[in-house]
């Protein structure tokens, strides 16, 4: 037993024999399901949005720096590549937003029955699509 944490991996059977506790099987063992897929999406979009904050920070810092810096930042954000990033960012944002609300309901103790879990999962996907499209309709309408 090299480590204290190893000691925690040892349990007792009902007849008092010491056994090593089993580890839960990892991701690739399971068949992909809507529940696991949406959970993975939530994490992936969270990390993507974290990287996406760089664009927000750049925009704010540039606006506080100079006209030239602001022109560079808004020029990039308004370019086709910037708009493509923004599009991915809005989809990720709406997904993380809706799935996050689903998590808050779970945390409050609601929606654990399997049919409900599947239904809310589909609702999150539908809401993401609708809200992303609506956002871009508004973006182009306001321009």
């Amino acid at each position: 037993m090299a480590d204290v944490r190893d000691a925690l991996m040892v349990g007792k059977t009902s007849d008092g024999k010491l056994v090593r506790r089993p580890l839960s099987p990892h991701l690739q063992v399971y068949k992909p399901q809507i529940t696991s897929a949406l959970s993975i999406f939530h994490r992936v979009t969270g990390v993507a949005l974290s990287v996406g904050t760089l664009m927000l920070v750049w925009w704010l810092v540039a606006a506080a720096t100079s006209d030239a810096a602001y022109a560079t930042a808004s020029g990039f954000i308004g370019s086709w590549f910037g708009m493509l990033l923004l599009f991915g960012w809005t989809v990720a944002l709406w997904y993380h937003f809706c799935a996050g609300i689903r998590h808050l309901f779970w945390d409050a103790g609601y929606g654990f029955e399997l049919p409900t879990v599947h239904l809310t999962g589909k609702l999150v996907l539908a809401a993401t699509a609708v809200l992303s499209v609506l956002t871009w309709i508004v973006i182009f309408a306001v321009r």
Partner: protein, 135 residues
């Protein structure tokens, strides 16, 4: 560890002593609550910020400064920045703790991530304050 004889416990400490400071007994509850509180705060703040950003498309720097200069606007942008970077750090922390098992690189990555989250948050906050106070 050779498992021929089966596992055994060589450490002479109580069950409680061995569990303290490890796993779920660390600071999971505070982390969980902070995640919930920041998510709830970010629901209205994100909607407001997204709406404001859409309204500011193609705005000049003077227009952005005028927008940030309103005291309520400045307050809400600062609140969004604080909530956003706190929430972001908590999330990335979970990802790092899940995938980096060795203690040294894990602690290094956590420190780097926390530093980056603070710097990005401070840079954003100071930019908003500068826009609000000096244009």
């Amino acid at each position: 560890m050779a498992d021929t004889k089966g596992p055994e416990i060589a450490i002479r400490r109580s069950m409680l002593g061995r569990a303290r400071g490890l796993g779920a007994a660390k600071s999971g509850t505070a982390h969980w609550w902070a995640m919930k509180a920041t998510s709830l705060a970010l629901i209205p703040l994100t909607l407001w910020m997204l709406g404001s950003m859409i309204g500011l498309q193609g705005a000049t720097r003077a227009q952005v400064a005028a927008w940030a200069g309103g005291p309520i606007t400045a307050t809400l942008v600062l609140a969004t920045i604080a909530g956003l970077f706190h929430h972001m750090y908590l999330g990335v922390q979970t990802v790092i703790e899940d995938y980096i098992h060795d203690e040294r690189p894990r602690i290094a990555w956590l420190m780097v991530t926390k530093g980056v989250a603070w710097l990005l948050g401070l840079a954003s906050a100071i930019s908003v304050l500068k826009l609000a106070f000096t244009g």
